[in-house]
Each structure stands twice: as C-alpha cells, then as structure tokens.
Symmetry: C2
C-alpha cells in the first residue's frame, strides 16, 4: 500500500485544555493534515475555532463522525472514550486515547515513544496515552533502566492543578485571590470533582488525586504503579507512589528514589545517560542552583531532571527530581508523538 502524504485527523474533546494543546502542536509541528475534524460534546458543537488561518466548526462527536478519519485523538474523558473509541475503530480510524479507559487493557499498547515506541506496532486500533505523572517518570528512568537496571521505584509527586482540568485552574486563582483579600476560600472542585468533600488547594497541599481504592491508595497512585510496570514491560519492578496536588498551575514535579541493579554506579554515570536520552534535559548543577521547577518547565516539551544524588546508605540507591509540563509531555505532546510515529513507521 502506498503511504498517504496527508491524513484526516479528528480531535475528540477539542475544546478542553489538552485538546487545545493538541491543536497547537499539530500546527507547530506541521503535522501532515488533509482534513482536521474537531469533535466535542453537544454543548460546544457549533463553535468556530481557528486552526492556522482556517476556521473550523466544532461538531458533536457521534459514531458516524469518524467516517474517513485516519487518526482520532481522544481527550474528552473516560466515558466518551469507552463509548466512541470502538466506533472510531469500526470506521477505520486508529485511536490515540488520552484517558484511563483502555490503559490497562492487554490488547491496547500503552506508549511513551521514547520508552516503548515499538509497542505501537501491535495496536488493534487503540493506543493508550499513559497518565501524565507516569509519562515523565518513565521517560526519565527508561534510559537508566536500560543501562544499569532498575528494580525499585519510590515516588512522591508534586502535581499541578491543571491536571484536574481548566476549572481547577480557575478555582486555584479564585481561592488565592480570596485568601489575599482576607476572605474565606470557596472549595467546590478539588481534590476530586465527583468526590464527597472539597478542600481549598490555594496555599495548601492535598494528598489525594483521584478517588481512593479499597487498598488505601488513590487511583492516581495505582495508575503510576500499574502503568509503569506495563510500559517498562517489567511486572517484577517494584513501584510505590504517593500523589499530592499542589497550588501551582502547570508541570508536575516528582521526587523519585530508585535502586539500580549494578554496583559502583555513580552520579556522573547517571548524568551521562540522562544527557543523551531522547526527550530528557538534564538541569543539575547544585553549585549554580540549577534544577528544574514547575515554572521553569512550563510550556516546554521535554522532561527535566535535576538533583541527582546517590543515596547515602544504599550504594545502589539514587534520588532524582523530575519535572515536566503535564499538559504537553504529560498529555498532548505524547499523544501527537504517537500519531507521528504511526505515520513515520507506517503502523496505521
């Protein structure tokens, strides 16, 4: 089959924070688009949006919307993906799904292109984009694992409110202003929109992202644990996570402890691996106070790593500080990278 030179692309959830970033990236990267369909809920349908110089009318996402679509990028919540991704596949599209709906489905590859790009080849119509906090961690750790082995990961996260959606971002702004005005902060959304209790996030920290499971871990923590094993193809890898929501807008940060398989590994060895790793930027110079922060990493596509230290007791233990824009590498950019790989490798 001769490969096409331009593709019909659909974005489901085009009006959301991630959908908007996906549109920006398709334009910036000159993605080879024949026709771009912007799909959304009934509520947003009819709105007009600019893509480059072209005005596109947003349509309601329906099963028949996917006729003729080559690649459908879903980012409209798990229930929409569950309903419409199979319909898109039936119509011949390949779906890149940004929700948790299919991530642990054994028939669905879960992909971070820098880590397990080759898994895309095995897709049966749907490829899942991992959780934001997982993506940046595995992107930073995979090159280390490939070189020195990793058998243990313990991560504590510092996560931005934009991971909970655009409304959470507005809630943080409103609460911060209320506090500075000496008013009581109104909490209606965080930590989890649908959960029973809401707490202020401004000038606070909430050790709950997503709802709690019966084992006392949140779903976010279990996503990090399960997805990391799946992406790394290592069921024996020990992964522990504590996920915390914090009052900043963009970029998740992670304090990561790892144990490597080899003796005598040094910080310089890890630096060397990280410096040449795809999609990773080493920012690690304590003497110059150089380390990544959420503010310094926002609006950038890379995963930034700093504070690489050897554990003082365990010669195979290391600590790292990993930061990346949760809406870009953590969502939109990873999705677009998967779409690029589908085309480049003729895996559609």
């Amino acid at each position: 089959m001769t490969q096409k030179t331009a593709y019909n692309i659909a974005i489901v959830g085009a009006t959301g924070a991630v959908g908007q970033k996906i549109m920006q990236l398709l334009e910036e990267k000159n993605f080879p688009i024949n026709e771009l369909k912007l799909l959304s809920s009934k509520r947003s349908a009819g709105k007009k949006v600019l893509f480059g110089t072209k005005e596109i009318t947003i349509e309601e996402a329906k099963p028949e919307s996917f006729a003729g679509v080559d690649i459908a990028l879903f980012s409209a919540g798990g229930s929409v993906s569950k309903e419409l991704a199979p319909e898109a596949v039936k119509h011949g599209a390949v779906v890149v799904d940004n929700t948790s709906a299919y991530r642990m489905d054994e028939n669905v590859p879960l992909v971070v292109p820098e880590v397990n790009n080759e898994d895309i080849a095995n897709h049966k119509g749907i490829i899942a984009n991992p959780n934001c906090s997982t993506i940046q961690m595995v992107a930073a750790l995979k090159p280390i694992k490939d070189t020195f082995g990793i058998n243990r990961i313990i991560v504590s996260t510092y996560q931005a409110v934009s991971g909970a959606g655009a409304q959470a971002t507005e809630e943080l702004k409103a609460q911060a202003q209320q506090f500075l005005n000496g008013e009581e902060m109104e909490a209606n959304l965080l930590p989890v929109t649908g959960d029973k209790r809401h707490y202020p996030i401004a000038f606070n920290a909430l050790p709950q992202i997503d709802v709690f499971g019966e084992n006392g871990y949140t779903f976010e923590e279990m996503k990090m644990i399960n997805e990391t094993k799946k992406i790394m193809h290592d069921e024996k890898l020990s992964v522990a996570a504590t996920c915390v929501r914090l009052p900043f807008f963009t970029s998740h940060a992670e304090s990561v402890y790892i144990e490597v398989d080899k003796d005598d590994v040094t910080v310089a060895d890890l630096w060397k691996v990280l410096e040449t790793a795809d999609g990773v930027v080493l920012q690690d110079d304590p003497g110059a106070q150089l380390y990544p922060t959420p503010l310094s990493s926002a609006d950038k596509e890379d995963v930034f790593v700093g504070r690489v230290r050897k554990d003082l007791d365990n010669p195979r233990g290391f600590h790292l500080w990993v930061v990346s824009d949760n809406l870009l590498k953590g969502a939109a950019w990873n999705t677009v990278q998967i779409a690029q790989s589908l085309i480049k490798n003729n895996w559609l």
Copy 2:
C-alpha cells in the same frame, strides 16, 4: 535544693516569628514565670510588647543580659546562639536553642520530648531543638520504631514558607498578588536569602531548602538525616531526604516511606500505635477523605498522620503522610515543652 515555683525566663529573638509563638505559648500554658526578659538585636531594642496584661520593653541581647536568668530560649539565628548561648550558660542559665548551631554537638542533647525526653537530663547547659522537618517526622515514627523497629526512612518533604522566616511569608503573598494581577513576580529571598539566585515560590515548587553541600544534598536534607539518627540513638538507621519548599504559609507535610524490622505488621497495627502516641493525632480515613493538610494542621500543637498504607511489594514497607505546624511543634512548642520538662523533672 528546694525547687523554685517560678522562673526567670529570657527569650532571645523575641520579635521573630518563633519568638512570638514562644511568648504566646508561655502565656497559654501558664508557664511558671517570675520575670520574663525579651531580648533581641539592637535594632528592635526599646520596643514595648504586651505579655498578658504586662508591658515588657525589649532589650538588646548582651552577655550580661543573662544574669539571674534560669532558662534562656534562643531563636535568633545560629550566629547569635554561637555568640551568646555560652555566655548565658556562664551566667547560670540553661539554654534551649532553636537554631542549628549546637544540634550535632556531642555534648548537646537534641530533644523531642515525646521521643527522647530523658536525654535532657544529660545537658551541660545547652539543649538543642531539632530542625522543624525532623521534629514532626521523629514524633510520628518513634512509637512505630519502639514497637516494630524501623531500619529505613525515605522522606520527601512539602515545606511551608514560614520556615524561611516572616519575610518569606510576605514574599509569597506579594508574588501571588503580582501573578494574579498579570505582573511579573519579584523574587528576592527564596529559596535561600544569602544564596546567589532567587526564584519565585508563588505557584511554584523549589527543590532547595538551605544551601547545597558538596555531596549534592542541601543542608536541610542533611539536617533531617543526621538529626534523626541522633534523636533516635541509631547511627545505623538509614535515612534519606529530599526537601522541597512550596507555596503555602504554615505546616510542613512529609511523604514518608519506612521499613520495619518485623514481619506481618499491618496498617491496623500502625494505626493502633499512632492512636495512643503522645503528641500524635491519627487522621486516616480514605473513605471519608480524612487526611491532614497544611491548612487543617496550622495553629495546632500536634503532629497529624494520615494515608498510612502498606507497600504493595515490600511486606515490611509502609507509607505515611505526616503534617504539623512548623512554627509550633516544629519550633516554639517543642522549645517550650523542653523548658517544661526541665522544670518538671528538676533537670535545671
């Protein structure tokens, strides 16, 4: 010797954030005071402050200020303690020092009363108050260590700006308002006043508290590591720390991983120990979204623990979320508790 019924107390650094909290606590707890001397730098001397209904004039701290003083509570920075604490001791006072000046001095007990109260008895004139982030962690872990043993601690902290002083609190407020106004944030203080570079803390996270040592760890991280071993009297205890400054005002939070010495320990076992531990309050009910946060813990004297979970891979591993007011249990309240113990046990 007949014990006195009221004591001459001096507070060095009376105008600082911790000094003010110490005054409040002495009043609230009806500390048996004969005379209260408020000492400060030359700059603040002459100011008048209310203690209860009594007006006290702040005096410049000098060696001779300590004549007749029974207990001197120092909280005016390490250099002041280095200069004046020995002078206070020469004048017959017992010093409780809230700075890092003497903490690792082998002749100086480093004390959290719930953990190692008996060490106070060995003082040679100076007793050191540990670092804020250390105090709350050892208070939560000591009862667990006593019951099940602990051989490994890995902590990632979430620390409030008030730990960097009252000016840092003002900087966070000013930056937050600048950001909300769409202005550029001005950074002049954090992460460390005297260090070369300053970054905004509002809507950000800074993985640097105190300056960096040659091993890549910050002094704050090394304080947590070294002080924990000293307070626990366990040089073999493995402790690793990553310390991060965050945009909230009061209370440090900590994501703590521990490995216990015994098999078959359950979350319920840890709950039972924590429920009855002195100075510790268990707030752990995921189903009810009950866990401590910096906002919920502020202005309270206790150490709050939640999110107690068994590690999913290591049967001896557990995760906890520990939160406490860094100015109270982390500083002023622990200092006052040591002073109370000196009197109660006749250890002056």
